[in-house]
């Protein structure tokens, strides 16, 4: 699996949405499935998948799929 596929899978399973919905433009709090509770599940899933530890600022800033990729990129996960 590519890193992008891994990311899409993590998003889809954490938020309980279809993989096709996981696009760069998808933003936090714009769909009912991505609320503050699901956000915690998502962060834990991404950390596990990519074996990284996100700091608090990253977690708060991670308000779209696109930004999630940028944040992961800082942890040497290339997309």
């Amino acid at each position: 699996m590519t890193n992008n596929e891994r990311l899409v899978t993590a998003f889809a399973s954490s938020l309980n949405i279809d993989a096709s919905q996981v696009v760069d433009e998808l933003e936090y709090n714009t769909i009912p499935q991505w609320d503050s509770v699901a956000h915690m599940v998502l962060v834990a899933a991404l950390e596990k998948e990519f074996d990284v530890m996100l700091d608090m600022d990253d977690i708060i800033e991670m308000s779209s799929v696109k930004i999630a990729k940028e944040i992961l990129a800082k942890h040497d996960v290339a997309f």
């Binding site: 503050s36 509770v37 915690m40 599940v41 834990a44 899933a45 530890m53 608090m56």
Partner: protein, 373 residues
Amino acid sequence: MSSNIRIWAGNADFLHWTRTTVAAFASERIAFLAILSQKLLAGDYSAALKALGFWLREAQLRQWQQEYANDDRTILAPVGRVFIVSPSNVEGLFAYSWALSYLMGNQTVVRVSEQLTDDQQALFALLESLDKQTAGLSEQAFISYDKRSDWTQTLSQWCQLRMLWGSDQSIESIRQIVLPAQAQEWVFPDRYSVSVLHLTDADIPRLSKLSEGFARDVSTYQQQACASPKWVFWYQTDKALQQRFWQAVNVHLDNAFPKNERLVASQYLCALGGKQVFYDNICIVEAPRILGIEQSLIGIVGQSQINAMKAIADELPDNLQSMSVYGLNKENKIELACLSSVRQFSQLGQALNFDKVWDGIDLASVFSKKISH
């Protein structure tokens, strides 16, 4: 003798546990907490329990492990036998302090109130099922008992560290019970929390996000957690901007607080001399200094205007816990930390997030010994 004890999870035989060789950050304990975290995040649990699961996620545990790694000068070892008394109403709290005690390798007895909440029942059921699979709780116990029984006495004699969470009154009452000279004690009594905000026109694009965070801090637990902000100090902030902030906060608080509670709270603070400056889903009352600290008010935030940090510090109570802040620089914070009793700073929206450094105390250190060699 001590009867009417109830055991909710773990092993009831705590008075006969012998010393073991579990180390701080033992791999089986990390594994147990990591599974607990996964189950909480994946299962059908409340937001509060999911927050606990999030906090205990493996990446976090590993990070702490690195932070406290043994080096060539110190060895980290468990304290031994830990007795935790937790408050009933913030249900998750006992789990956070227990998890750190567990992670540091201790034997732990946690006392919770006799009336379990739904969340507590769900958590204990999960702990029990994990214990069956892994025996991970063979030296842990979650119990409750009648306060008139002598169990507090017995466990105070048993433990090497006693940790009390609760109101001033209950902590003082437990402190009547002798703790042996060789045991340590940590207490987490009633606290009061405030917010210090410094907004400028440049912050207008961020208002929506900031207000959402502030709204979350006050609405969780109906503003009754120690860390929920009850008073805002506006530092050199334009009044029109303050109103915009409250309007933005207001949007997030539809039906958050019962109307009658807001009315009572507002009338109370006004009777003490405050002036109501905003009244909708949340009520804002202005006064030159903090009012009504002795009452549990719901759905109200007081505010004062200040131009210098020194002026805030004069108004802050000794039992000050959290300051959720925005727009302060490091010098401001250092000044406040020295001038007041503040025990933690947080960002807006993070005031209630439990951290292993709580009330200014590093719980991971408290639950362990740092042995130099």
